[in-house]
């Protein structure tokens, strides 16, 4: 089963290596990993897509929590927003094909960000299933390059990932 996990971390040198290293050495399967800064200074946020049963997911969360620089881990089991951005370069043989791929792109609400004589780059945002479907739809025309950011996610509503209040040890 696929799980989207968000991890709030201290933005220290090597923290990404720590998270990635832990996942590799514990033998967890990850589909993607995306990282970026947050609005708060010193804090970054990582989105992981992990596959495995509930026991695996529990271990992923617990093991991540053992890292000193990991502040909070959440599995987005609750209603959440998931998005991934992809750049897809499709090869274009002729005018007819050009029209076809444009139609498909429109159906997916993909934007054209680069047009050349023999290729088009599309920019697409959506959940990973949508990105997968778009790529499959373009495959018959000839995929030249695909770059995906990996899924990022956020809980809907008021639930937020934040630094826990200090409590006495």
């Amino acid at each position: 089963m696929r799980h989207l996990v968000s991890v709030l971390v201290q933005d220290h040198p090597g923290v990404l290596q720590r998270v990635a290293g832990l996942i590799a050495r514990r033998g967890f399967n990850i589909e993607s990993l995306a990282v970026g800064r947050t609005h708060q200074e010193g804090l970054s946020r990582i989105s992981l897509v992990v596959s495995g049963d509930d026991a695996v997911l529990e271990q992923v969360e617990k093991q991540l929590n053992r890292l000193i620089e990991v502040i909070k881990v959440t599995d987005h089991a609750e209603p959440h927003v998931e998005r991934e951005l992809a750049l897809v370069k499709v090869s274009i043989a002729g005018m007819e094909e050009r029209m076809e791929v444009k139609d498909i792109a429109e159906a997916f609400r993909a934007r054209i960000v680069d047009v050349a004589k023999r290729s088009i780059i599309f920019e697409l945002t959506g959940d990973s299933t949508k990105v997968n479907n778009f790529i499959e739809a373009m495959r018959p025309y000839g995929l030249l390059e695909v770059m995906r950011t990996g899924a990022v996610g956020m809980s809907r509503g008021e639930q937020v990932l934040k630094v826990r209040e200090k409590k006495a040890v």
Binding site: Q10, G21, R25, K62, N65, I68, R164, V169
Partner: protein
Amino acid sequence: MNGAKAILKALEMQGVEIIFGHPGGTIMPTYDALYDSPIRHVLVRHEQGGIHAATGYARASGRVGVVMATSGPGALNLVTGLQDALMDSTPVVAITGNVPQHLIGTDAFQEADVVGITQPVTKHNMQVRNVNDIPRAIAEAFYIASTGRPGPVLLDFPKDVQLAEFTGSFDVEIDLPGYKPTYKGHPRQIERALEALNRAERPVLMIGGGAQHASAEVTELALKTGLPVIPTLMGLGAFPGTHPQCLGMPGMHGSVAANRAIQYADTILAIGLRFDDRVTGKISRFAPNAHTVIHVDIDPAEIGKLVKTSIPVVGDAKWVAAELVKGAKRLNLGKWWAQLEEWKTKYPFTWKPKPYLQSQEVIQAFWEATGGRAVVTAGVGQHQMFTAQFFKFDRPRTWINSGGLGTMGVGLPFAIGAALARPDELVIDFDGDGSFQMTLQELATLKKLNLNVKIVILNNGFLGMVRQWQDLFHARRYSEVYLADSNPDFAKLAEAYGIPGFTLTDKGRLQETVKEVLAQPGPVLLEARVHHEEGVFPMIPSGGAAEDMIIENPREAVAGD
């Protein structure tokens, strides 16, 4: 004041009294500052000896062990010891030098990515890049190493940081928003645990290394409830080994009573242990009748990792055990105990006496001669298992061995660290001829410190445990385990270092030799030449379960001995 002096001052503020270490190029500023420091430095002969000694010190005292090394090869020699301390949850702080920051990443002389390399083998590590961060980094390192589930922390100091002028403050606050260990177990889970115990017909109390500091509380719990106690290899001594309620250790070379008790138990209360595969055997067949597993551990990641847990209690063993004592009642376990007594009586740890000298009797003789009043270390292998079986540990922090990693060669440096931590105690290192040769250079350290350490090498001329597996599972094809043709004369080797050396070959001289060794002040080495055919039994083959236990040596059964 420069960074190096600030490092030592910060260490002093943490109450550090001893540093084990070895100098070298990039840590020289700190060694220079050490020249004027009240902190005692123990010069080891190899950094691996240093980290194992720091680990032995920590395990014997409950305090943080400190080791110091230079960059590159010095720091990399700590790797095995860091993983050893990590797996056996030992608080150690390692201080390493590194090349100056302007050279980092240029393949400079004695440069290595020590923070990268040691990341998986430490609880936490970091490079301190700003001289004024030194006090906070050191305070956090000690806090992380010694709290929650203890473990090793490495701090890497580039040389320019050690040399820079320190203008910061030593009045620092620890701010670790991602690190908040839970000490107090959840009251509802503790209540559920007590209810489960009261309902149980065949309960057992298993205790591990995480119960060493909670020895008084778990002992009280056992005495109040009448629970049978099964200390794991790491838990030995946390409950008195000679007490009638102690069933001995479980697992691969555990007692029949302990393994059968787990096999038939309906309820397991496990405190401060992590269900290592050497304890459980094949996990799917572990404790098949236990409908209730209560797991108390300070590390939430250990709960449910391997064994399905019905009542998880995240918390400190000491705190949780004390709470359990408050609510515990005397349990009515008459029928269960009758069964346990039968197994205990029928299958004690034992050996068949032979005409030649045997490891088991050597260990037993030392146990009897000392009345068990000793801190004991071991290397890894048959001698380690024999010691765990035949030296009955009655006090916590008196059995220091490498449980999780199984690091050969820890015996001597562990003993040095333990002797420094507890100068009033006799320390015995039961070692193997294979294990001992992995770190024997520390004989020099031992001689220099003149510590009360008795090294007992149980020399069977082989890598005995590997040989035992080859004997049982590899059709007696003894591939690369023979040492006797090139072993040194161990007594002479000791003498070369100025340490009195004894050799024992004759079974008849065992008792007097033990007396002689113990009567000698300071360090002594005894080589006991034992027979190579001895095996460690009982044994649950790797990947097996309690019911697959081989109780007696099958070779002896075949020989009709």
